[in-house]
């Protein structure tokens, strides 16, 4: 703004680099950039929500969300003793990231640990609130796995929150049970004010390890788990997310939520209610993604593309040829010369510089064609 600077913290935050790549796509482009399904959502839950609106109009939902929905989410995704008081309905998990940072921390005192790489929003939400954050580096050599010891060693006196994703964006890595237990034990053994762990579990329903998903929410009492119907049910635009955690923390998050935007859309909450009443709907798209993942692995293998084998989510990281140290330049070339939209690894942190993030939520033919072109790009002389 010419006439004033407004909020200096907001002004200092750059535009979303993921969106920026997406917005450069052409009509002809193959889009391997965006973090959203191309599968169509089941419209039946919408029909159930419509019936509710016809009977009840569209009144305010309760600030923290519909009680039955909170209760179901707490039971599905919470610790064994959790009930509705442990869950809050939010405008997508994005609001959960923001509010965990906003509500649970004191900018004058507290700092946050994030991994490098990680979903950029974690650090950006801290930046918006003026909360310091430092990075724990993950390494390409072991598939960017999260190690508890590295997190525990990085804690400083001011550290009051760790933000993790599992399955993670952009790496697709799932935190091992052994590491979660080690982290829980290590944090529990510390004296002083407990450290919150925010675990972004929005890709939980898309986990391909073959083992049951283990959530930190069952192992460590100061966990805030974030969930969403966006990825599992192809409902990104419906903005239905959840925070699950200790009642006092959920209370703080919900109070901030109410002050900022009152409540979540009541129609969307009834769509969600129809889904959780029949929870197999949460897994309805799993088989499609499992097959898609196989297709990606096979296609990449055929081309000898060095990718990180994803354990979950619908991304894979491609290690670029040596001459492409600058992943932004590589993504530019892939778009300009091969008409494929990707996201440069540098967007997620210095540790994924030299990589491209490829989303494989596109339709199968597009994913194959996109990977074929990227193979061509990798083989080409610079």
């Amino acid at each position: 703004m010419t006439e004033s600077s407004g909020n200096p913290l907001l002004a200092a935050i750059g535009p979303s680099a993921i969106r920026a790549m997406y917005e450069r796509r052409r009509d002809t482009s193959i889009d391997l950039s965006m973090g959203q399904p191309t599968l169509a959502p089941d419209v039946e839950p919408f029909g159930e929500a419509m019936d509710w609106i016809r009977d009840n109009g569209a009144p305010y939902a309760p600030n923290f969300g519909l009680l039955e929905l909170r209760d179901a989410i707490a039971r599905i995704y919470g610790a064994s003793e959790y009930d509705a008081s442990n869950a809050c309905v939010l405008n997508g998990s994005q609001e959960g990231i923001y509010l965990a940072v906003k509500a649970l921390l004191d900018p004058h005192r507290d700092s946050v640990l994030v991994t490098n790489p990680s979903y950029p929003s974690y650090a950006r939400c801290c930046d918006l609130e003026g909360i310091a954050h430092r990075e724990v580096r993950l390494d390409a050599s072991d598939g960017f796995a999260v190690a508890a010891d590295a997190l525990l060693e990085a804690l400083e006196p001011s550290s009051r929150m760790i933000i993790l994703g599992s399955p993670a964006n952009p790496t697709g890595s799932v935190i091992e049970e052994r590491e979660l237990r080690r982290l829980a034990d290590g944090l529990a053994a510390r004296s002083g004010t407990p450290v919150w762990v925010v675990v972004d579990e929005v890709y939980r329903e898309l986990t391909f390890t073959g083992r049951p998903y283990v959530s930190l929410v069952d192992l460590y009492p100061h966990t805030i788990a974030l969930h969403s119907l966006s990825k599992s049910c192809a409902l990104t635009g419906m903005r239905i997310g959840f925070a699950v955690g200790p009642a006092a923390a959920i209370g703080a998050i919900g109070r901030a939520h109410a002050l900022m935007l009152m409540s979540v859309n009541v129609f969307a909450q009834h769509v969600a209610l129809a889904i959780v009443r029949d929870p197999k709907r949460l897994r309805a798209h799993f088989d499609w993604y499992a097959k898609q993942r196989q297709l990606v692995l096979e296609t990449a293998h055929r081309h000898k593309l060095p990718i990180v084998e994803p354990q979950g989510a619908f991304y894979t990281l491609l290690a670029l040829p040596e001459r492409w140290k600058d992943s932004q330049a590589a993504a530019d070339q892939v778009l300009d010369r091969f008409d494929v939209v990707t996201v440069p690894g540098s967007v997620f942190g210095a540790q994924t510089e030299g990589h491209l993030r490829l989303s494989w939520s596109a339709q199968p033919a597009d994913v194959i064609e996109g990977l074929n072109r990227i193979a061509e790009f990798c083989a080409a002389r610079a």
Copy 2:
């Protein structure tokens, strides 16, 4: 939280006193407390949104909202030269209040003027951001009318925003065109950084002055007008609000919105699109409220109840008998002994202590019975 204080600004904000009264209602209670319509919304726009979802799924809406919707809102509610770049779709006007404060001000430097009385959320959003606010007193003797001179005189060097409502909650008063022009001229004549004026216009479609609505957005370039379909179209639960103003300010508000919660529900935006494509739908409930207002005036007159004649919105302030200086105690009695839920005037500021806010969005029979009982309460010995 026992284990930590978290955000001290959030912790210092008390619960919503309006919600608190509402939550004390019994099944038998007549509810004259809540700020939401009891009229049923038109379901046709929902049908149009459903058709869109069937054809397109539920992908992310753009961060700032659907372009056609932004464009329509800018044309309906904006200054004559405004286009889509001057409007942003938000999760209700509540998010607009929060984001105007959050995005356009610097907590270390800027302060805000609000009126007393006013909708409590204005001051609460400032409190959440650590932004100082001071009050300009309105007076019962002239129906709590807003006078430009009083605002201009109250400006301090740090003042960077004035937040007003017109029609206002809880007074129902509409700011006179003369006062708006005087305010615009007075602010324009000041040197230095301009002062933002946020005008909450969510009740604009429910204005009963008989004169066309005049918006400050047409008179003063640094105006942020907040709108919503909640009240005009009985869609409180759909959380569809808009901020309209200079493109740079809308840019800052939209960027904060994207960081915090990505975008507004795409289904709700298509409901809104169906409404603005046929803008007479914005006024569909006007006649019902105009009639309801007459009913309130007649019933109050019959009982000789001293009420502030509302120029807009669906509230009226009742001046309590002398012995009820404490409006919370009066509201408690009205609920406990007469089973009518009201909101104590003290909730909105010291200037409306000794008053009750009566919402008349309830069904006609309930409004009459509620007023009858309140008349009985006023006539009763303490």
